[in-house]
């Protein structure tokens, strides 16, 4: 038996969170899910390695977790929404994480987002009916 292939497998730079990924990342995501609780976040901050050992992670997952290696964690099965429960309390923004995925500075990542608005007014006017505040 093998995992089914999907159309979305070929989208570059994209890790669709499906059954195959969720299965491989289950223990890791369970750890990340525990960060909904402040006491778990504190316990992890106090001794990351000991905390990781409670969740039966693979060696690679544990290493990526302790090193805040977001791209590594993603490739090892972390779901992005669960990954945010690690990143945000540790002081990273979603843009910091995005920049880390791309290996660029957060400032540049933000500038790329801002550039999306470059010709917005013209586009909205062309279609018509938009509120302009």
């Amino acid at each position: 038996m093998s995992w089914k292939k999907h159309d979305y497998d070929d989208i570059p730079g994209t890790y669709v969170f499906d059954g195959e990924t969720s299965h491989s990342g289950y223990a890791l995501n369970k750890l990340l899910f525990s960060f909904n609780h402040e006491e778990s976040r504190q316990e992890f901050a106090g001794d990351p390695s000991a905390y990781a050992d409670k969740f039966a992670l693979s060696d690679a997952q544990k290493k990526a977790l302790i090193e805040d290696d977001f791209l590594g964690l993603l490739r090892l099965g972390a779901n992005i929404y669960f990954l945010a429960k690690l990143a945000v309390p540790r002081g990273f923004t979603i843009q910091d994480a995005g920049a880390a995925f791309q290996g660029i500075e957060t400032e540049d990542f933000r500038a790329n987002l801002t550039a999306k608005a470059d010709d917005l007014e013209a586009k909205l006017e062309k279609i018509g009916g938009y509120w302009h505040g």
Binding site: H6, G13, K30, N36, I80, K85, K116, G133
Partner: protein
């Protein structure tokens, strides 16, 4: 008889919640985005709904990956918000309407939508950010709220077409309730964004605007797209746009546009707002 007074689409981005908590609405980054909600608030005050059905996805607060329902509906007297690890302020609890919830669940299941019923349900930013956007200026929530959660987190997901069909079933469910209730439906999430991978930061303004127009005049166009196609165009998290079709399906074929607003970027996302009313009331 209960009736649908209209539908609203909105983003539910956590950064919006943080901006509201920080009172940052008039800062240059946020001003245009938030100003575009004032007409929505005015419309809501005018139509004065009794109940809001909020279509959203849970992001790992109520549902872990051990059990992932494709469609889930709240059937509780109250819904609590809680810490989801994203630094958001926890909001006051929301009153539900259990008789109405169970009526919806029964009607939807009788129409072959096999809902998961939840008698305890924590609601995360996907639900609370829209509620706060609409009603944070009031001392308490002016409506009873019904959470309707769609799995957009773990594939395989339901399809855009199925979401439109769920909306159509939801219209029948609402309109078969004997009590006089005014119901508004919120379709939340989107628009284009990708949070993860080397393609993080992907936004497609043209696709977003195409979705906005499709929602108004031709929802069949969006409903006909495959999930893979939507992910390619709108990003992995942009797939949330399928939840807007639940709202749209609950309205008539012909709708009037009360308000149309689009802003980019908001955090990593394109953000669209629609207020739609049935053309024939």
């Amino acid at each position: 008889m209960a009736r649908i007074v209209g539908g609203v689409t909105t983003s539910h981005i956590p950064a919006i919640g943080l901006a509201m908590a920080g009172g940052n609405e008039n800062e240059p980054y946020w001003k245009r985005f938030f100003a575009g909600y004032e007409p929505v608030k005015e419309w809501l005050a005018k139509v004065d709904p009794d109940i809001a059905i909020v279509v959203y996805n849970d992001h790992g607060l109520n549902f872990f990956l051990d059990k992932v329902p494709t469609f889930a509906i709240g059937c509780a007297d109250h819904y609590e918000n809680a810490d989801e690890g994203w630094g958001l302020q926890t909001l006051a609890s929301f009153d539900g309407d259990v008789e109405f919830s169970w009526h919806l669940a029964e009607s939807l299941i009788n129409q072959d939508f096999d809902m998961t019923t939840c008698q305890e349900m924590l609601v995360d930013h996907g639900f609370i950010v829209p509620m706060a956007l609409m009603w944070r200026h009031l001392p308490e929530w002016p409506v009873q709220a019904i959470p309707l959660a769609v799995n957009t987190v773990q594939h395989p997901l339901t399809s855009a077409r199925r979401c439109l069909a769920l909306g159509k079933a939801l219209q029948k469910a609402v309109e078969s309730y004997p009590d006089d209730k005014k119901v508004v439906i919120f379709g939340t999430g989107g628009m284009s964004h990708q949070l993860q991978g080397e393609r993080a930061g992907h936004i497609d303004v043209d696709f977003d605007l195409q979705c906005m127009e499709s929602l108004i005049t031709d929802p069949e166009w969006l409903a006909g797209l495959s999930n893979s196609h939507i992910i390619e165009k709108a990003g992995t998290e942009g797939i949330e746009i399928i939840m807007w079709l639940v709202m749209r399906g609950a309205l008539q074929a012909n709708v009037n546009v009360v308000h149309k607003h689009y802003h980019v970027p908001v955090s990593n996302c394109g953000a669209g707002v629609l207020v739609l009313e049935n053309a024939e009331n």
